[in-house]
Amino acid sequence: MNLSIDVSRTDDIHYVKLSGEIDVYTAPKLKETILPLTEEEGVSVRVDLEKINYMDSTGLGVFISGLKSAKEHQSELILMNLHERVYRLFDITGLKEVFKIENTVRGGN
């Protein structure tokens, strides 16, 4: 399995649509995509995880570095449309407290 990443921009909003799996193999590519987007002051980076059917701690690591970068550069990182399975990782690690998460989706993959 792989991860496909589709980036588009409308005004100050970057949309990052993800599809596939986030693991130790695909996480570096995701990090390389998301980090530069967060480095522009005032932008909003909205990551859509609806089509993510697998994610583990390597994905959490990528989003943590994205969040740090956003804070440093006065941009924002928003995670959208998380499946319950993916949201659960943010829940049990306590990370749901620090991320902006919009919409969780019922059901699995």
Binding site: D23, V24, Y25, D56, S57, R85, I92
Partner: protein, 159 residues
């Protein structure tokens, strides 16, 4: 008398691109044993975390490392062993990094790694780490048929 079990072993190069293959294997094995969809998802994450640790920590700079994954299929549980003979990581250092995020921690201080072993502990019933010869992670998940057995640290999905 020794408890009967079946054993399956997979050996992969210690490279990130092969972790997904083990996930496919464990889906099949766990399904064979009768684990639920949710439990299979937990197992996929746990085994991936263990292999990810090995790939990231044990073989830094070494090109030809291998990871051995053993599955012990018992009538009431699945035992998974992830072993490498390549190197070893500092267990005490890693243990210090295990744990959930706490509200008093600043975002700047958030660690980007280190949730792996914590997730294994949360998603499996038992986690043991042997650091004597390389690193061996052994984790166990019990079958809960009809929800009769249950553990204190598990959240019941049946109301």
């Amino acid at each position: 008398m020794q408890e009967p079990f079946d054993f399956i072993e997979i050996k992969i190069p210690a490279k990130p691109e092969y972790v997904g293959i083990v996930r496919l294997s464990i889906s099949g094995i766990a399904n064979r044993l009768g684990f639920s969809f949710e439990e299979i998802e937990d197992l996929k994450i746990a085994v991936s975390e263990a292999i990810t640790n090995t790939v990231q920590h044990a073989y830094q700079g070494v090109e030809d490392g291998e990871v051995t994954i053993g599955f012990g299929l018992y009538h009431d549980r699945l035992e998974i062993m992830v072993a490498d003979r390549g190197g070893s990581f500092d267990l005490s250092e890693i243990k210090q990094e295990i744990g959930p995020y706490r509200p008093e921690e600043s975002i700047e201080g958030l660690r980007e790694g280190g949730f792996g072993l914590f997730l294994i502990e949360e998603l499996m019933d038992k986690l043991e780490i042997n650091n004597d010869y390389g690193v061996i992670v052994i984790m166990t998940k019990h079958l809960h048929k009809n929800g009769v057995e249950s553990n204190d640290d598990e959240i019941s999905t049946t109301q």
